[in-house]
């Protein structure tokens, strides 16, 4: 049988190291001559034909390059292996792959496949297709490289079921010849996988070879093939006389998740042979059969296999293993970190799959005794940052003062801050004093986490400390206000009022939100006079609180503020008028929409969308012509709310040609609600827009999925 694939390798300097017999035969260059020669001396036109750069790229970047025969025809000029009517030179499909060594590219492996006959056949196939003749299935396998897309398309659907190209066996023989170069074998297999070649049968044959090294490599390779057909052969290899082969067969069975091998793998684990028991446990973890979990419990008493057994249980175990794992913590010399990681892993799995992580934490908390908690705490004190999370998670489940204190040390650690807060919140009311202590920390992060935890625990004992902090911690004012809102203690109200005067609009908004949460009629009596406060920030906040409640005594004062001298106060009042249900609202909004500054006009436009009455529509139509884009934007949004049919043509025009994309999008969305047909006609012109948002909005309308508001 002729060899269709040849292999050669080079070092990093492109000096030939391996030159196999197939290459020697079809190039006519002897191995003795080629070995040690620079590739450029064997192929002198490598650079002038522009091919050298591909070799360089493989060496520099570690990528695989394929020189397609359609473009490059050949790497090494030589006659075809079999006579060809179309080609005087062998047509070569060349794959250039990096040879890896210690994570670096140590050289390259080149496979050269003679595809002359295939190309001949493809041309014939193409000719037949062009002529409309039925396909010859024998030609399909050879059609992948054809430049004619119809040929490729015909072939691609069936190629995966076909046998490997003829040259594979020759390549594997070459690999076998050089099998002690593991880099060569792995690279060759990588190349084969790249070209979708089935290497199964040959590898199974190698697995039974007399040579131990080759059996090892075959086992390794079969594990990487993602091919279940390899499982019986690998199970058979578990009886190999060489423990090294068995080791790699075990690993391969794990990678293939070979359920059928579970019993034999368990036997290796139970044998307490560390060399084979360790990979067997790893393989069982990959296979993931929860039913064998109890069989692993005896290994938890084995100092050598305890940790891998814990790790395997964490991978395969369900709730039934939690108690047993937790109990390990109660023993001397317990590997607390490993156990915590195992418990955290099961918890995460339950939480993700079933939303029932809490069930795992409860089971765990029931089984860990004080000495177990102390071991977790000790481990927490010594753990590196990357190992903290599982320990903190377990600390959250076991409620003890020592655990709380240990976790609190990490309140300022960015990597685990959220986990620490979660853990401490689970400890709840007993740790309020501890958290209040943390409010005095110099570290902003620590204070922030403590505030978050106190807010979530919701204990009124924290009110005073938080309220005190509110007056002096500007950076954390918003979270403190959030926490005080959550606690819901009216005693905090006094501390909030002074912040209405802050120049920071976001803090003022948080004050409004918190005071609105804690509001009482008595508090409103304090707020209403503030509508006339000298500080416009105070007036604005007061307007928002009064507007939020909309009590009768608030209505007139809020209306008064709609003509406040300060733009922000007017805007706040305008925003809230629609909620006051007062007959004056439309006139005030219309007046603001026509005459006020842009930000207030925009607020008025938005507010009109909240009115139940369609009387605002004429004003909105007018506002579509406003000079300010944000006024036009909110106007379009309000017309959307009203579904105003009389606005269709105006919206059409705005969607079509407004200078600002957000305005066009809002108009287009409004139009789609009013007149789907007209909107679709505009959308069709916008689906090719350069602006991604406008294009998306148009596509949404055409696909009838415009729900983005």
């Amino acid at each position: 049988m002729p060899e269709f694939v040849g292999v050669f390798t080079t070092d990093r300097d492109l000096v030939v190291q391996v030159w196999d017999s197939a290459i020697a035969r079809f190039t006519g260059i002897d191995r003795s001559h080629a070995s040690g020669c620079a590739l450029v001396s064997l192929v002198p036109d490598l650079q002038t034909r522009g091919l050298l750069k591909y070799f360089r790229r493989v060496l520099d970047e570690g990528v695989v390059e394929v020189l397609a025969p359609a473009f490059h025809h050949y790497l090494i000029p030589c006659p075809p292996g079999t006579p060809s009517t179309r080609f005087d030179k062998m047509q070569q499909r060349v794959t250039i792959a990096p040879l890896a060594e210690d994570g670096r590219v140590a050289g390259i492996l080149v496979t050269i496949e003679d595809v002359t006959r295939r190309l001949d056949d493809e041309r014939a196939l193409a000719d037949r297709l062009e002529a409309g003749s039925p396909l010859d299935p024998n030609l399909l396998i050879k059609s992948l490289d054809d430049q004619n897309w119809r040929v490729r398309e015909e072939a691609i659907g069936q190629i995966t079921r076909r046998a490997a190209p003829d040259g594979i066996e020759a390549l594997l023989r070459s690999v076998r010849h050089n099998h002690r170069n593991f880099g060569l074998l792995n690279s060759a297999l990588k190349v084969l996988r790249l070209v979708h070649v089935d290497v199964h049968a040959a590898l199974v044959e190698f697995l039974r070879d007399k040579d131990e090294d080759l059996r090892i490599q075959a086992a390794l390779a079969l594990g990487d093939q993602d091919e279940p057909r390899a499982i019986p052969a690998l199970i058979e290899a578990l009886n190999d006389s060489s423990p090294n082969v068995v080791y790699h067969a075990i690993e391969a069975l794990g990678k293939l998740r070979a359920t059928d091998a579970a019993e034999q793998l368990l036997a290796f684990a139970e044998s307490r042979d560390f060399f084979l028991g360790f990979p067997a446990l790893g393989a069982l973890a990959e296979i993931g059969n929860a039913q064998i979990a109890a069989r692993l419990y005896p290994l938890l008493d084995d100092p050598m296999l305890r940790e891998p057994a814990i790790q395997t249980l964490s991978r395969i175990g369900d709730e039934t293993v939690v108690e047993r794992l937790s109990q390990i913590l109660n023993c001397n010399q317990a590997p607390a970190q490993v156990v915590a990681e195992a418990l955290a892993s099961i918890y995460d799995r339950f939480e993700e799959k079933h939303g029932e992580g809490e069930y795992i934490s409860e089971l765990c908390a029931r089984s860990i005794r004080p000495e177990g908690i102390q071991r977790i705490v000790d481990a927490l004190c010594e753990a590196a940052a990357a190992s903290l999370r599982p320990l903190i998670l377990v600390v959250g489940w076991v409620k003890s003062a020592a655990a709380s204190r240990a976790a609190a040390r990490y309140l300022g650690s960015p990597q685990v801050q959220d986990a620490v807060v979660d853990a401490l919140v689970q400890h709840g009311h007993p740790i309020v004093d501890l958290l209040v202590e943390q409010l005095e920390s110099e570290d902003l992060e620590v204070r922030g986490s403590a505030i978050a935890a106190l807010g979530r625990i919701g204990d009124k004992r924290a009110t005073r400390a938080l309220a005190r902090l509110l007056g002096r911690d500007e950076e954390l004012a918003i979270p403190i206000l959030g926490a005080l809102s959550s606690i819901g203690d009216p005693a905090a109200v006094d501390s909030m009022f002074p912040l209405m005067a802050t120049p920071d609009a976001a803090v003022r908004r948080a004050v409004v939100s918190a005071l609105s949460t804690l509001a009482s009629p008595a508090m409103l009596d304090r707020v209403i006079p503030l509508l006339d406060h000298d500080n416009p920030g105070v007036r604005e906040a007061a307007v928002r609180i009064c507007g939020y409640f909309g009590y009768p005594q608030c209505v007139d004062p809020v209306f008064r503020r709609s003509s406040d001298e300060d733009e922000n106060v007017r805007r706040a009042a305008i925003e809230h008028l629609p909620f006051l249900d007062d007959p004056r609202t439309l006139d005030v909004l219309a007046n603001a929409l026509r005459r006020d500054v842009p930000s207030v006009r925009a607020a008025a436009a938005a507010a009109m969308g909240r009115l139940n009455s369609s009387q605002s529509i004429p004003y909105l139509l007018e506002a579509l012509e406003d000079s300010d884009p944000w006024v036009r934007y909110f106007t379009a949004r309000s017309l959307n709310c009203h579904g105003a049919s009389e606005a269709a043509s105006s919206l059409h025009r705005v969607a079509d040609s407004d200078r600002f994309q957000q305005v066009r999008i809002a108009a287009l969305e409004a139009l789609s609600k009013i007149d789907a047909q007209q909107a679709a006609s505009v959308a069709r012109t916008l689906v090719t827009s350069e602006d991604s948002d406008l294009r998306q909005a148009a596509e949404d309308i055409l696909m009838n999925r415009n729900g983005k508001v």
Partner: protein, 297 residues
């Protein structure tokens, strides 16, 4: 009520639009687990701009003619300022003990430039300055230390040179006493002599024009930045570095960051037990795209 967006009454939605826009402009990427963090950080800005939704704010950032200065606020809000003196010091030692003397031997009399590309509040460039001072390099060679950050707020802190206890967690008390003086019950101010060794400027790593001059340094420290960037953004920034850096040049990234899959323009080297990326001679002028995994040619 823990989320700032909840406290401020901002409805959820359009998170991904905003996330992608921020990524495009700053390189910082917030995956799905960090979306709440992003919206929390931006919420105050939304309110301050007078908007009541993230969508409106997104449109403002993207389309409004006045959005330029707002981006500075966005960067200030989302920047991570968590750093400290003497952090990952092995790399700085590799600079002072091996890279610098090696470079000077082949470039006698020339100025050696160091750029701390994301200096936050200044701890990194000051650490470099301290190490160079201790090794006596400022007396023996012409050395410039440039430091930049995209956050103007961080640079303001760096310019003040005032630091709290947390910044000193890895610095010996002797060094603190030598290079800082107490300026408040729990604050320390950097000595003017050391402070003046560093030249600060505002620069967004995603903007080639802003970093072109800085990146012509022989050594770039860009540590603990790429952990917040997407692979695409890292690739872009590293491409700029390779384009502007001289040869030879050295790039330091954080210990948890790797460019191995990102670029071929730099090769990883171990110098004095510190990892450094050495610019490859062939990388000069390369303007192509990295991250290729092979192809049919």
């Amino acid at each position: 009520m823990n989320r700032t967006s909840d406290i401020l009454g901002l409805p959820k939605g359009t998170d991904t639009l905003l996330r992608d826009l921020v990524h495009d402009r700053t390189g910082m990427f917030f995956d799905s687990t960090k979306m709440d963090m992003l919206t929390d950080k931006l919420s105050p800005l939304v309110v301050k701009r007078g908007f009541n939704s993230f969508l409106d704010y997104y449109y403002f950032l993207k389309y409004d003619e006045q959005s330029g200065p707002e981006w500075a606020s966005v960067i200030n809000a989302i920047s991570v300022g968590e750093t400290y003196f003497w952090r990952e010091i092995d790399q700085v030692r590799a600079l002072t003990q091996t890279i610098l003397p090696h470079w000077l031997s082949s470039h006698p009399g020339e100025t050696f430039r160091i750029w701390s590309a994301a200096c936050a509040s200044g701890e990194e460039p000051l650490t470099i300055a301290m190490a160079l001072d201790e090794a006596g390099w400022f007396e023996r060679a012409s050395i410039e230390i440039h430091a930049s950050d995209a956050s103007s707020a961080a640079l303001e802190k760096a310019a003040k040179g005032l630091y709290r206890e947390r910044s000193f967690r890895s610095l010996s008390t002797e060094r603190r006493a030598k290079y800082f003086f107490q300026d408040g019950p729990s604050t320390w101010r950097v000595q003017p002599a050391l402070h003046s060794r560093v030249q600060y400027s505002l620069a967004n790593l995603m903007n080639a024009g802003e970093i072109a001059g800085l990146a012509s340094a022989e050594v770039i420290f860009c540590r603990n930045v790429f952990i917040y960037f997407s692979e695409t953004a890292i690739s872009r920034v590293v491409r700029y570095f390779s384009k502007f850096m001289p040869t030879p040049a050295y790039l330091f990234v954080g210990s948890s960051e790797s460019l191995m899959r990102i670029t071929a323009h730099f090769a990883l080297e171990d110098i004095d037990n510190a990892f450094v990326y050495l610019k490859q001679p062939s990388a000069a002028g390369i303007d192509g795209v990295e991250l290729q995994s092979g192809g049919l040619t």
